[in-house]
């Protein structure tokens, strides 16, 4: 976390080559910008510098100057003499300066790295076959790239506890720990829950929780991602799958409006874990533990898999036709959800437009932890605003729907994902009114529904969410959906086509984005789906500045 001065650069000589690097950056980052790797364990770009692993040792020097005159000292050829620091220095704690000379490849540096690797491996158990980190382990990588290739150690290795429980979600394998202290710094600096520390000395040093404390904050699993070796392991993922089988797909966390960027790791269509994806504008390299557990909904017991149409009909196409018939030429209520993607909400809005129906939307709110779990527990409330589905800020209930039902005049209700019975809508009032439910998880509304259309979770489809800072973030499909089910967009477009042939719209994301950006004052003007898929795009949200957004000041977010 060395402060970088915006825009300013300095010139350093990196392995004999003049390169421009940002002023204020350290040598590890500066070298990485020019494709030179300085191996490191303890340094992390988003944590403070500890400098205790010594892996990033390099040679550094500056042009010599005469003490009296301040003139550069020249050698016989008239070239400025370089005063090399006699001992190697650590790259992570060395800030670049104008004219600095750096050697990342030299005999001395190679010797240093071999020595450090040998020391790190002295007490390493070498249990790669059973280690979950194998395949993405820095120790494996650097031992191959910079190690000496064989061991001279003949003494007996230290034995340490192999499965210490640090908290409800983290298990520690002490033998593998290389004492880089990344996890300790993370807990102090990011999670703000100082519970980890080293005890004992020398080769007996051990990572442990402070007495009477546990690593149980909602960010504890980030320490597992941070750990450059396999010391900290996720209790949930431990021994479940080797990482080289996993296909990683970029996605967006749906837990709250923070919209953390994530990587979904799956094998043969089954998701095994979720890890954060670095995005310095949204979530740095972190995400919540609760967000990581969300993949479980994909194969949970309450997942809706069988469509329900006319009586016992279990064919999806028939269910869609039945739903269309129920909704046709009636006075209907459309209940949306902030869990839907921007594109789905756009189609839902179109559906309500052609049926001339009233729209209802409920918000879900909780505590704001000031980091990456925002008070708005839906991923796409701002998407509902931008798609035109709503113009007001949703309340914590659906009392308005209840009131309208009481008043009468509604012939059918179309519920998209939400649980209306759980939102202060009286079940009595729904008697005799056909209910069409579309969603992924079973709830009391889906039980009551006459027509049930199962849809896909965010891991099984493409779309866009708009997070609390109005960043439009697209995501790709990570795993295929269950057999026989269709994407939400396709279902909605089929219903729309059935209701009104003329309003028919292709469920094509780029086409929907074209429509979204077509109004003259649309904040989405000129943006395509591919843009938001590539990187988050900041959308102008000033139109809704006056709305009572519930989010508090948090990581990369300032309330307006």
């Amino acid at each position: 976390m060395i402060s970088q001065t915006k825009g300013e650069t300095v010139t350093i000589v990196l392995d004999g080559e003049d390169v421009e690097v940002p002023a204020g950056s350290n040598l590890v980052d500066a070298a990485a910008l020019h494709s030179k790797e300085i191996p490191h364990y303890c340094y992390h770009p988003q944590l403070s510098v500890a400098g205790n692993c010594r892996m990033c040792l390099i040679e550094m020097g500056t042009p010599m100057r005469d003490r009296q005159t301040g003139e550069p000292v020249l050698d016989e050829d008239g070239v400025p003499k370089i005063g090399w620091v006699p001992k190697p220095v650590i790259g992570c704690a060395t800030t670049v300066s104008q004219g600095m000379h750096v050697k990342t490849i030299s005999d001395k540096v190679t010797d240093c790295r071999e020595g450090i690797m040998e020391f790190l491996l002295v007490n390493h158990p070498l249990d790669c076959p059973i280690c979950d980190q194998a395949g993405e382990c820095r120790l494996q990588e650097f031992a191959t790239d910079y190690g000496r290739g064989y061991s001279r150690y003949v003494e007996r290795k230290n034995v340490k506890p192999k499965r210490t429980r640090l908290g409800p979600r983290v298990t520690l394998d002490d033998e593998r720990c290389i004492l880089c202290s990344r996890c300790i710094r993370f807990c102090q600096e990011v999670a703000d829950d100082d519970v980890l520390g080293f005890v004992d000395r020398g080769s007996y040093s051990t990572l442990t929780c402070f007495p009477g404390k546990e690593l149980q904050n909602n960010y504890s699993l980030n320490t597992v991602d941070l750990c450059p070796v396999g010391a900290l392991t996720s209790t949930d993922f431990r021994f479940k799958m080797r990482v080289w089988f996993l296909k990683e797909s970029p996605s967006i966390c749906t837990e709250s409006s923070a919209g953390s960027n994530i990587l979904v790791s799956s094998r043969e269509g089954e998701i095994h874990r979720i890890t954060p994806r670095r995005n310095d504008e949204v979530n740095d390299s972190w995400m919540t533990d609760s967000g990581r557990a969300l993949y479980k909904q994909v194969r949970s017991d309450d997942r809706l898999l069988t469509p329900r149409g006319n009586g016992t009909d279990k064919i999806l196409d028939h269910a869609i036709t039945t739903a269309t018939n129920i909704l046709k030429d009636k006075e209907i209520a459309v209940v949306g959800s902030c869990h839907g993607t921007l594109e789905e909400l756009y189609l839902l809005n179109r559906l309500s437009k052609i049926t001339n129906s009233k729209k209802y939307l409920r918000g879900y709110f909780g505590e704001d932890d000031g980091i990456l779990l925002s008070a708005d527990r839906t991923p796409n409330l701002r998407g509902a605003l931008l798609s035109g589905f709503t113009n007001s800020y949703p309340k914590d209930n659906l009392k308005s729907l209840n009131n309208d039902l009481k008043r009468g005049g509604l012939d059918a209700v179309f519920v998209y994902r939400d649980d209306i019975l759980n939102s202060e809508v009286d079940e009595e009032l729904l008697k005799g009114i056909p209910l069409v439910f579309m969603g992924t998880q079973k709830n009391s509304t889906s039980d009551l529904a006459e027509v049930l259309i199962p849809s896909l979770t965010s891991f099984e489809k493409k779309g866009t969410f708009i997070n609390r800072s109005f960043f439009a973030q697209g995501f790709e499909q990570a795993v295929p959906g269950p057999a026989g089910l269709l994407p939400d967009l396709l279902i909605l477009s089929k219903i729309i086509e059935g209701l009104d042939e003329e309003s028919k719209i292709d469920p094509d994301l780029s086409l929907i984005w074209k429509n979204l950006g077509s109004p003259p004052k649309s904040p989405l003007k000129g943006i395509t789906f591919n843009d938001v898929l590539e990187s988050p795009v900041k959308v102008d949200g000033s139109k809704w500045e006056s709305l009572p957004f519930v989010e508090k000041k948090a990581m990369h977010y300032l309330p307006v």
């Binding site: 076959p129 034995v159 007996y204």
Partner: protein
């Protein structure tokens, strides 16, 4: 077009016309073989001698203490060219005697012998020396399911092989008396 050449057939000699020398030569071969030692193997009853390094059916072996060696690292599953191997990893409970320090073991281990091509990559890649292609070469069954060897079958086929490393014993010894802290 090449020109057609007509070859003239030579007239047969007397000995050729009688066929007797040819019959004698043929009978000589017959009688020589009649008195030679037999080379035919009465296969199902008699089995051939299997040479060393023969690649038979892949099997899982136990160490001389009768404990399973496989730690389900899934490298064989990864390296298997026809994707015949399927492993469900599992963990060894902490309260299990003798083996709690091993931590990981396969919950299920399946090799589909209809897919296996007997290449031996699994044996080559195994870091624990737990999988071997041994002498067994004939496997048969009445259904596809029968041709999938599960963990129990694989250990039955594999048996125990001598171990040179005693890796886990050494580990246990170090834990019991060594620099344990």
């Amino acid at each position: 077009m090449p020109k057609t050449v007509v070859l003239e057939r030579k007239p047969l000699s007397i000995s050729e016309r009688t066929y007797l020398p040819q019959i004698a030569t043929g009978l000589k071969t017959t009688f020589t073989n009649m008195f030679k030692p037999k080379v035919t193997l009465q296969y199902p009853e008699e089995k051939p001698r299997i040479p060393n390094n023969y690649r038979g059916v892949p099997t899982l072996v136990k160490d001389p203490n009768g404990r399973e060696k496989c730690v389900s690292c899934q490298l064989c599953e990864f390296v298997c060219p026809p994707k015949a191997i399927r492993i469900t990893p599992g963990s060894v409970p902490e309260d299990e005697e003798d083996r709690h320090h091993v931590e990981k073991a396969p919950e299920e281990f399946e090799i589909n012998m209809l897919r296996c091509i007997y290449c031996g990559y699994c044996q080559e890649v195994c870091p624990e020396e737990a999988i071997f292609l041994q002498e067994e070469y004939s496997s048969s069954g009445y259904s596809r399911e029968e041709m999938v060897n599960d963990k129990a079958k694989l250990y039955e086929l594999g048996g125990t092989l001598p171990d040179q490393h005693y890796k886990w014993d050494k580990k246990k010894q170090a834990e019991d008396e060594g620099n344990s802290h």
